[in-house]
Amino acid sequence: MTRELTDHSIAELSSLIRSRTVSPVELTDAVLERIDRHDDTLRAYISVYREEAAARAKEAEQEITAGRWRGPLHGIPLGIKDNLYVAGRVTTMGSTIHRDFVPEDTATVVSRLTDAGAVVLGKLNLHEYALGGTTDNRVFGTCRNPWRLDRSPGGSSGGSAVSVATGLALGALGSDTSGSIRVPASLCGIVGLKPTYGRVSKYGCFPEAWTLDHVGPMTRTVTDAAILLDAISGFDPRDPASVDLPPTTTVGGLSADCTGVVLGVDEKYFFHNVDPEIEAVVRAAIAGLERAGAVVRPVEVRGLRHGDHALTVIDTAEASTVHHANLRDRPQDFADDVRLLLECGELPSAVEYLQAQQLRRRLRQEMQRVFDEVDLLVAPMVPVPTPTIGGSGAGVFSVVTPASLLGLPSLSVPCGLVDGMPVGLQIIGPALADQRVLDTGRAVEELGLLGSAGPTAHLDRE
């Protein structure tokens, strides 16, 4: 019964909770039990709010019984990446330096989830300060990919991806500066959405690089991602980058019909160095969308290759600005790879940083020209096989740049397996086209390319 409950999607459980077929208490207990059973191995969590989660679930049950159903997240147990502040609770950023840090305020996204009635289960493991792609965390443990425990889950939102993939949370929040939601989602076989920049508040999210940072949902299905996006999006005066728009209403209009949707494929940038088996899986997914009615068209986003340089300069320079004083005064307290990245971020000159920002604006214009021709871009999410833990991870992040640098909505949705490991299709849309991106993600799900494969079977045999 336990496994059956935690295998359901948020959308399914929401209906069951609303009809009082399933109790939020029963569901939360089931998820907490799974955490107890598997998290010593997986290391998805940094802290578990056991008592608070149980109390919130009880409260949700009482409200629903009294006829006060708040919406699709009411009574749903979710996890939160541990770079999102929760007032009065330790928020570590996965670091030694902030190991005992207790914020005074709560991140807007967390407040919005709790206002929607969600049950916050605890805080999820991440690469230190979100500055890396492995979630091999020296302080809080090595997070493991549940599809094969010797493989990396990716990062930096590795704990979020692993918790969702294994039913240790029904959904989670991650953050994405240069791929940190989408890459672990792809490697762990779940759905990860980096919304349009500014569509979701990043108030209370510890900054990595403030002109690039995004917060977004990580879930098992596209519909669940839409449910979370609708709950956390909308203008927030406390985030200077927040777009002055009301919350999205994507879930109501979600459609898997991709008839007539024009999909652009930039061979030169996205397919120039892809593992052949991964390429075959991704191309099969694109062909499936074409059979379902989409129109596939070759495009070229000119100058895109220079975007990688611009992203590196902006990301590292902003991150080093955030951490400059600690890098100077207590460098020994950073993980070796993070310290090295921050040292590198001190190198670009002011001219270089500003030139990178100019290049970014120019690429945005170029991308707008391309989006006059096509509705969306489709591409591999991770063009290389899942790295082993401790491996180099070369190439894992090599095609995240366009959506990261330009703040475009980008979804990773599972589209098949290679060597028993999941592969994600990346869908990129123009700014504010989050709905269209999600719709096409639903169309991919309808193709049924992942079959019934999942990561949890071997865990449950243990």
């Binding site: 000119r302 590196t312 310290r339 290049l359 604006r361």
Partner: protein, 61 residues
């Protein structure tokens, strides 16, 4: 090893551990390569310059 990158960091008050020198240097070289690429892109890859051209500074001047 070209010590420019390490000297730059020292000037900002950051002592780079010896074990990091080579990787910092490698990153410095990749920045230089990227910089050259961007300089070329301003003339090559785009229809319009990256910056609206001031008189006397546009690419045809």
């Amino acid at each position: 090893m070209d010590p420019i990158a390490v000297r730059l960091l020292r000037a900002r008050g950051i002592e780079v551990p010896v074990g990091d020198h080579q990787e910092v240097e490698d990153h410095w070289q990749s920045l230089l390569a990227g910089r050259q690429g961007v300089d070329e892109a301003m003339l090559g890859d785009f229809d319009i310059p990256l910056v609206f051209p001031a008189q006397g500074h546009d690419r045809d001047a």
